[in-house]
Amino acid sequence: MIQADLVTKQRLTFISLLVLIVLTVATGLGLGDASLSYQRLLPTFFGQGTFQEEFILFSIRLPRIIITLLAGMALALSGSILQGITRNELADPGIIGINSGAGVAVAIFFLYFPIEVGPFLYLLPISAFIGSLLTTSLIYIFSYKRSSGFAPIRLVLTGFGFSMALSGVMIVLISSSERQKVDFIAKWLAGTIWGTDWPFIWAILPWLIVLLPFTLYKAQRLNLLSLNEPVAIGLGLAIEKERMMLLLSAVALAASAVSVTGGISFIGLMAPHIAKALVGPRHQLFLPIAVLIGSWLLLLADTIGRNIASPDGMPAGIVVSFIGAPYFIYLLLKK
């Protein structure tokens, strides 16, 4: 029972964001160290380019852009779910230990399982995924009490504690290892989109294909969960079960993104927040918007990041933080 003018507004916002993303993609495709002029973009895209042009477009820029877009979507969706189930506007995949869990797993794997570069690249996202899943499970177990069940506020506090503790573990791990290896881990933590090859798309895409429709299907339940707990129970929502399933979805989404992009925070916080400001708090309406905002923000951050500093560029995670940290402070002050 949503008013028609709100739906129209949401449609318009959706289309505007799509246009914005297409424009940013087009701009990003033509930017970079190797030259590929804007006039040559379309011909190359349709198979009229030279070998070099095709290589730049299809093997370097396009996969990276697609991965960035997908990761942004997954992070935004994950943040939206978390804010709904914890009824906390400041919730972000980072607070339930996704980033720190994945970080520790990557560090341990990188430092103590020396294997060849080939398989290593593909095992790294898997280890990051397992690391964040383990961390979140622990946080869930620790924040569950038999008498009163699962309280969102305890999840947030326990998650925060775990993040701190795991950061400590990271320091211990890093400080005792070789400089060269530390560099990679430090870059990973800063959120460099490092998985920039087509196969890495498969680390994120399947999760999105399954969990995006699933979350939209659960939109009304998310509305009820973020409304008021007793009211939700009274209306017949099995809140423990729903929360558990939605939490798992959020973890899978964020972990899959982080495993390819490194530790990126703030997207999951900002995207749902901006989306709610644009189209209101109904999950049916703001989820698609949040997903697009997330992918656009991360793409923008990465496009700026990889062109701003030579030769390696600046990690997207750091560029995001430049926007995200002030936004976070603004939110805190507004509260």
Partner: protein, 265 residues
């Protein structure tokens, strides 16, 4: 007839037991009021019966089945609950919030059926909230907002409706308005109403059955004639009460009272 009753119910928060070994039946198609001093466990009892708070042991039986084992959505088609003063709902319109009451009937992506729209319309009408159905709930006054929440519970179309202090924060006229609405639902449609009330005279005037609690145990349960007595009120509230008759309704009425001497509350 009794469809709903509790069996040896023990309810607590962590280590602290609030309600002890409580067995009581809720009379069908009647208005029941739960009364008692602050912290006596009235709200806790209501929450346990409506599965909002998990109890330690015992059982709540509805239609011969333990509600702990029942499908929660199916239960929501039998009983609705209006918790104590729900917080703000950030930006939802009145009609939207009321439409949430149809959740127990929705399937799949949850498009509203013709029946859903009829029930929402009806709930808005009886609570006289149709006139601002497109306004934001947050923009309403306390009394209006309370009526909207009641409309949501009514849209749930249940035989049993629970309300936790439905008149708190309302002025006298709005309190009466809510209680008369509940009375109408009970008399005209035979809905069972169970509510926690603070005002004894309101309980005596509107309830067919009063449950008086003290430290989680029943002091007296029965008609207003049986519960509104000097002895019961002395026990429940530690007061020395003067009971008279309401000249209009002829129900028992608390005229005035003093604190019992030598008692610290």
């Amino acid at each position: 007839m009794v469809r709903l009753y509790t069996k040896h119910l023990n309810i607590g928060y962590g280590e602290r037991i609030i309600v002890k070994d409580l067995s009581i039946g809720i009379p069908d198609r009647k208005i029941t009021a739960i009364i008692g001093a602050n912290g006596c466990g009235k709200s806790t009892l209501l929450k346990a019966i409506t599965r909002i708070h998990k109890y330690e042991s015992g059982a709540v039986i509805l239609d011969g089945k333990n509600i702990a084992n029942e499908n929660t959505k199916a239960l929501a088609r039998k009983m609705a609950i209006l918790p104590q003063t729900p917080e703000s709902v950030s930006g939802l319109t009145v009609a939207e919030l009321v439409s949430y009451g149809r959740f127990p009937y929705q399937k799949g992506f949850g498009p509203l059926t013709k029946r859903d729209y009829e029930m929402i319309e009806w709930a808005l009408q009886v609570t006289r909230t149709s006139e601002f159905k497109d306004q934001s709930v947050d923009a309403l006054s306390g009394g209006q907002r309370q009526r909207v929440w009641i409309a949501m519970a009514l849209a749930q179309d249940t035989d049993i409706i629970f309300l936790d202090e439905p008149t708190t924060y309302l002025d006298m006229a709005h309190q009466l308005e809510i209680l008369e609405l509940l009375e109408k639902l009970n008399v005209q449609q035979g809905r069972t109403i169970v509510m926690v009330l603070h005002d004894l005279n309101q309980a005596a005037r509107f309830a067919d059955y009063i449950i008086a609690l003290k430290t989680g145990q029943i002091v007296k349960a029965g008609s207003s004639e049986e519960v509104m007595t000097r002895d019961v009120l002395k026990e429940v509230y530690q007061i020395d009460a003067e009971i008279g008759r309401d000249p209009r309704t002829n129900k028992p009425m608390l005229m005035t009272y003093n604190l019992l001497k030598g008692v610290t509350i």
